[in-house]
Symmetry: C2
Subunit: 543 residues, 2 copies
């Protein structure tokens, strides 16, 4: 039996485009003599459709698309994902994978385990399946397990059911595993664990097909693969690319020599994920060009380099907006960077605008000393200029804040927190340096000066980040423990960090919830990014 794995990039809600892609893949697979083509989870509508599922027309479109695709399954079978209505009690929908052949949907398999944590909220829409069934296809008993259905014991909590165990008991010989599994650092390794764990438990080979493509904050990396009953990966599809691949099932197991694909080095992987995330957002949201504020600092330099990789330097505009507090060094560095990258840049000083604000505010402020207000004013003036350029010329504004800043609120709401997308809002400052060094791995693209000077917002004379924050190496460790590991103050202090510093940092994080509430969508690259996966009350006492 020859099986095609269709790792494709869908656009959420674009039934016409998605259906066309699916047809095309079926036709191609048929041309290659495949018996079965497997697609990812929620194929026809893309994942995650979120509250579009509350619209009846959307669900109807899903059902109609599944029916229409089934009609085209002649001489080949397909497993296609979508949603279908639940006519009984409970939530109104099922998350399904349809087994299609002979021009119709022959079996509808429902998802049992509905992830509802971090970025997932499937219990909001779906009723779980209450039973499983196997499908006899050309003498092989197929068990279809949708995404989370294989993750029963690999999460923070343990599900009460094991769909795979039920499939095994029902006689399944091969597991078809359509998924929509978002990327984060560590995920590839975790998937290996899940697959090998399941194979140890049940001894069933697995055909894993993931969607590929970025849907705003969520990056789906693909990484589809086939694992034989011995737990060896015998086929692996690329990261961050569409591909249709083929594998042949022998008598009892998959043929093919084991491939040795291990998780790439963390920084390289994060780099590739972010570049892909920017590129797909730009494409799917209809933009062509990117703008960003280039300060001569490390964060904007990194975002600029990533943007140039994503859409080409010819589509990137760097806007330099020096203030009275900008050092000549920073301006020179920013210019050197644009020259190295080959993108266009413009210089637009903010002095006269800043002065006009100060004049207008003078009667209200009387003789009050300058403080954070004036620093924020500069950041917001820059945002206003960037948005004016975006409005006038149709640029997408990329945000340049990193995760450490976003965490402690060391950023100006409506100022440097602006942007349509935040590429490095899930990247701690120490990783920002690692990424910048990665970009410079073959030649100096980001000028050395940007990498070596002390970080500064340059919003007042002689300002340094270290005036108000601990060294980033320490800060990032504490942030990681608090945000990703969800440790308490006491647990973090028990690891030897200075007590008052821990308190200060955690208080800063908690007090900045209101800012992050209005932050742009952030490309998720860790297990806990700010955004939909971390829902915190704004008005609360955080202990």
């Amino acid at each position: 039996m020859k099986i095609a794995l269709a790792q494709l990039n869908y656009r959420i809600g674009d039934f016409e485009l998605n259906t066309a892609k699916i047809y095309e893949a079926i036709t191609e697979a048929k041309g290659h003599g495949a018996d079965l083509v497997v697609f990812s989870e929620l194929t026809v509508c893309g994942y995650p459709p979120e509250d579009l599922l509350d619209y009846e027309w959307f669900v109807e479109k899903c059902e109609q698309s599944l029916e229409a695709i089934a009609e085209s399954c002649q001489g080949i079978a397909a497993v296609v994902g979508g949603v279908m209505r639940n006519r009984e009690k409970g939530k109104g929908l099922f998350n399904v994978a349809c087994f299609m052949q002979h021009g119709k949907i022959e079996h509808i398999v429902r998802k049992t385990l509905l992830p509802t944590y971090d970025v997932f909220s499937e219990a909001r829409y779906f009723e779980p399946a209450h039973d499983v069934g196997v499908i006899d296809f050309k003498g092989v008993k197929l068990g279809i397990a949708i995404c989370e259905d294989l993750w029963d014991m690999y999460n923070d909590f343990r599900y009460e059911k094991s769909p795979l165990q039920s499939l095994k008991l029902a006689g399944a010989q091969l597991i078809i595993h359509p998924s929509a599994s978002p990327f984060n650092i560590g995920k590839i390794h975790l998937r290996d664990k899940v697959f090998s764990g399941n194979i140890q438990r049940f001894g069933l080979p697995i055909v894993y097909v993931n969607q590929v493509g970025a849907n705003t904050d969520l990056i789906f990396d693909g990484d589809s693969q086939v694992i034989n009953a011995a737990g060896q990966t015998v086929k692996q599809l690329p990261l961050f690319e569409e591909q249709i691949a083929y594998i042949t099932l022998g008598n009892a197991d998959f043929l093919g020599v084991p491939v040795h694909f291990s998780e790439p080095e963390e920084t390289a992987l994060m780099h590739d994920a972010i570049v892909f995330g920017i590129r797909d957002y730009v494409k799917k949201s209809g933009f062509k060009k990117i703008i960003l504020g280039a300060s001569g600092g490390i964060d904007s330099a990194l975002v600029q380099a990533l943007a140039c990789e994503a859409v080409g330097p010819e589509n990137v505009m760097a806007l330099l907006m020096p203030s009275p507090y900008s050092s000549q060094g920073s301006i020179d560095d920013a210019i050197a960077l644009s020259k190295n990258l080959g993108n266009e840049y413009q210089i637009m000083p903010i002095n006269s605008i800043f002065e006009a604000y100060n004049q207008s505010l003078k009667p209200a402020f009387e003789k009050m000393p300058a403080d954070l207000t004036e620093e924020n004013l500069q950041a917001r003036t820059r945002a206003n200029l960037l948005m004016a350029m975006s409005n006038k010329f149709g640029y997408l504004l990329l945000n340049t804040s990193n995760k450490s800043e976003m965490a402690v609120g060391y950023s100006t709401l409506y100022g440097d927190m602006c942007g349509g997308l935040s590429p490095i809002g899930d990247v701690l400052k120490t990783k920002v340096y690692a990424l910048a060094n990665f970009i410079n791995r073959e030649q100096e693209i980001i000028p050395r000066e940007i990498l070596t000077k002390a970080p500064s917002a340059e919003l007042r004379p002689g300002q340094k980040d270290s005036d108000s924050l601990p060294e980033y190496a320490i800060l990032d460790e504490i942030l990681h423990l608090y945000i990703e590991e969800r440790r308490s103050r006491d647990e973090i202090k028990a690891q030897g960090y200075d007590s008052s510093m821990v308190d200060k940092i955690i208080n800063l994080v908690n007090r900045a919830e209101y800012k992050r509430f209005q932050a742009p969508p952030i490309l998720r690259v860790t297990t806990k990014a700010f955004g939909r996966g971390r829902q915190m009350p704004l008005v609360a006492f955080h202990g």
Copy 2:
């Protein structure tokens, strides 16, 4: 048996404050000779705690608080809500109501139905109860049903279980119903339906205790009540106020004459809810004073009047920021409004700043004609001035956008979309007028001119909202059908609306998702507000 209903305002995560309130209420109830005091859902931590529940210390605090409160229950019993750990498989927590007496927790009742739709996401955290039990207390069999446990058939979908039916079968004679039920227009009426429906089905009297207080976007209105077995409300607590009230249970049912409290008129209710929402947000977030941009238009006038009611005119600052396109009439109207309300105001023209921006942008814009860019620039300049005042003096900036504008994106991101809280972001423009007229019900507070002139953003000469939008009466009907009723284009067109107008409006709504993603939290007063209750993909094809 004498029962106390404790309708109190908790601060999320503030265990010290919440526990103190609970102790105090128990003491007071004991002083009044009560046998039992009933609190609302998740009493010790406040509702909704969201992802604070992912922190182990938070859960420990909940459990410790429940234990500590139980110790104080001597000579009186109490029903107190919180979360407790699940040591078995499944989600790590239970949403519980503890029955306490004799200094300890005697019974732990778990919630069965976990709302996971609109603003609720309880399946994210909790494992449902799998059984129910009744509690024998002074010869009466109490059945405790937490919030949604009474709503099995009163939602868009029908739950598979009816906890009340199980309690009835288990012999319950009285239902104790701790809740955290957020307000929206129509909710009071719906609660009546739920209570009377349940009493018709099971004939059991109900003691309903809701929390009161606003937690950012969610307004909990109180409205706690006691309904006898005949379905008559014999005790009803006020809306938007803390209160402890008492009721006596006779032999078989509650004593007391029926009270006739029906849902107040919609506009008055919306008014009271918003004023309460602003007041509680200001209080809980630690602000004292409010600032807002006063344009002389209806939206800002309404927000200003509501703010003055919420925190007193002495704590409200109206900032007038006329541009070259502001009419003298609007400036005069804005001044008259502040004089009528008695709040402070300042005039800060934006001309020179706007001019400085235009000069700085001139080389980039060359000779391109003015367009939306320059309109947005003005809105963003105003936001920058408002934020400067906020930063310098500690004002909370209130957003002044209404729901119609938020819906179609007729608002400037980082401009008039700024603010820490949006009081009327869930109020359609037609309701904005209704609220303004309500404020003027006894005397002209909002100048008549503001109510009668054609709506305009005044961002270019002679601009009117009606240049680019249909009349608000029609627009709001279509928005209501699309957003709250979740109708499709075709269904809306079938109701007789102009086809191209419907398409235009729905396209505008869909295209503005990216703006709303960065909007402030919006006080929720309808069944479908923008914000956490409406989660839409940003990059999607909306059909």
